[in-house]
Symmetry: C2
Subunit: 362 residues, 2 copies
């Protein structure tokens, strides 16, 4: 029996996408082999590859000015690959600091140029409990790009209004909230996202890059690290992670099938409101550290009065068939990840559990 | 119905490894979720991760001087990552040229130092039809490392005796023949292999690295590119491609179950001898370009008298349930890949087909 999975990533996947994979795991469309046993240069795999690209393009309304690429190495490799491509020694880039992942991105950029903190939400006593306001940003018009993290899985914060970067290219790590709702892709010169939250399994990174930005990339770096190499070869320069891309295709097809990103957003807003409602009606017991305007609809974090109660919460929830609720090791407490595969009914079950838990322990 | 799959990679996988994945795709060991939906920091996934490492260690007899790492980006990324870690500007490394993949490795190294050709098997008229002899190598004792490609998928050549590099660290791309037989790992300072031939699906690279060599790696490069980062974190610094590693585990467990690498080698030698036998007994018709001493047991290449006959061969084989026989686009002709998932019976079926085909068209 399947459990209710609130994992932070790798996360639960929509059951229809998984069932499709299971049903054809030994024989893909009558070809006599698994999709993962097909050549990446064969027509069977290439159809899947191109369908994944076209579904993502359709769902997000990606304009013709941008191109979809598939890379490997996780968002963590992108932290290094973005500055490797777009910074030269001495050149600067602006980093907007909203959590651990922004910090890691900044650290890797230091090996290639002079990244600069153009705004930080870090509070010495509270840590990261919000994102940044436009008025707080000190942007450098000469920066090579502005880097941001759209959703912060550990601290449960999320940008609901994207910053204005003027003429400077805006680069966003959207690993933990890409596809949670429709967005205006044209505002970004680059979006990258490890797939293992809303899109697929780990081991594949989706990149959506503006062609004019990509054209400015360095050519004195190895071919395998240039975005242009992937673009020129439809992400088939070398062997891509074919099965991971196939699973993304299955998830993207599921999103389209249920009504696209408008429907997904409606569900995600309903899920978030249900859960934040349960927190707020017993706010002295379920203590949410994040400022309301910055609350994430993907990762909801809260504390209980004691760590012992937090442990009880996690273990009693597990007995009720709900897993993945333990907070990140650097933040503690409870974290509920509400990625696209989590249903409204799943959240209603959790909310009922929380109300009961409060009655018993509050 | 499953076909007989002679694909060059991604390649066929052992049926029991795939069946195991299918049977538990929705519910891994009663946990209520797929292994790909598990956290990479949870005990369920970590057990799989560590089992994959210990199986590989056991099967290859990897000594305690070496460590197993899991990376992403394919062997193509290793072409750049090896010199990024071990070359400084002006430093040199020796490259042994035996095919297109050696050339690509050399090209990427040029961005970091001064790689040097220490021997080439390239013949102006014949291309690559053999590997190198020790006497042909002009090794530089001051080189940072010697780089070789153990098996050349496109040209069907393979090193049967590894070169002596003296005190210089020997680095081998074994993407297309790791696990075809037992080897003495201690002779290599680094072995890397994209998994999609003998070990698993695409999207995962196995690295076996000597700890003393790794310790010489540069620390002025981004953390995500340092081998030491993977080593210090048991390849869990960032989210690894969990499902790809799980599938490798299934394949490694299958290898152990059938008797380990001695049994695998016995089958591979039998397969190769059957197929080369079929070629040699009609050598004017099935023309094998590779010198006998350099013949690969993983990829067997041959030409037929005309390209039209080659097309007929591929299409008639397909009707007989055998696929993946078309040669690489740069080499043409026929290529038969005999990776571990291909059985002796599969090769006997092909040989019977070839003998019939010769009778009809020879």
């Amino acid at each position: 029996m399947r459990v209710i999975n609130f994992n932070a990533g790798p996360a639960g996947l929509p059951l229809p996408a998984l069932e499709r994979a299971r049903d054809e795991l030994l024989d893909f469309q009558g070809s006599g082999m698994s999709i993962m046993e097909h050549s990446h240069r064969g027509k069977e795999y290439e159809a899947v590859h191109n369908e994944a690209i076209s579904l993502l393009t359709e769902l997000l309304g990606i304009p013709a000015t941008h191109q979809v690429l598939f890379l490997q190495g996780g968002a963590s490799q992108q932290f290094a690959q973005v500055p490797m491509n777009f910074l030269t020694a001495g050149a600067s880039a602006d980093y907007l600091m909203t959590g651990v992942w922004s910090e890691k991105a900044l650290d890797e950029a230091k090996y290639y140029g002079k990244p600069r903190i153009a705004g930080t939400a870090l509070n010495a006593s509270k840590g990261y409990t919000r994102v940044l306001k436009q008025a707080e940003l000190q942007l450098d018009p000469a920066a090579a790009y502005v880097h941001m993290t759209s959703n912060n899985t550990i601290y449960g914060t999320q940008w609901h209004t994207f910053p204005e970067a003027g003429r400077v290219p805006l680069v966003a790590d959207m690993s933990s909230d890409l596809l949670w709702r429709p967005i205006d892709v044209s505002r970004f010169s680059m979006i990258y996202a490890g797939a293992q939250k809303n899109v697929g399994p780990s081991g594949i990174v989706l990149v959506i890059v503006a062609k004019d930005f990509m054209a400015k990339g360095r050519t004195d770096i190895p071919k395998i690290f240039r975005y242009s190499t992937y673009a020129e070869n439809n992400s088939l320069y070398n062997t891509p992670p074919t099965f991971a891309i196939y699973l993304c295709r299955n998830v993207l097809a599921w999103i389209k099938g249920v009504g696209g990103l408008k429907q997904i957003e409606q569900w995600n807003r309903e899920k978030g409101e249900l859960l934040y409602g349960a927190i707020d009606r017993n706010a002295a017991f379920y203590r949410a550290p994040v400022e309301k305007e910055s609350r994430s609809y993907m990762n909801v974090v809260f504390r209980l009065p004691t760590e012992a109660l937090e442990e009880t919460f996690v273990s009693e929830a597990k007995k009720a068939g709900m897993v993945g609720l333990k907070g990140h090791r650097t933040a503690g407490g409870i974290r509920v990840s509400l990625y696209n595969a989590v249903t409204v009914e799943n959240v209603k079950a959790l909310v009922a559990f929380m109300d009961q838990f409060f009655k018993k322990h509050g």
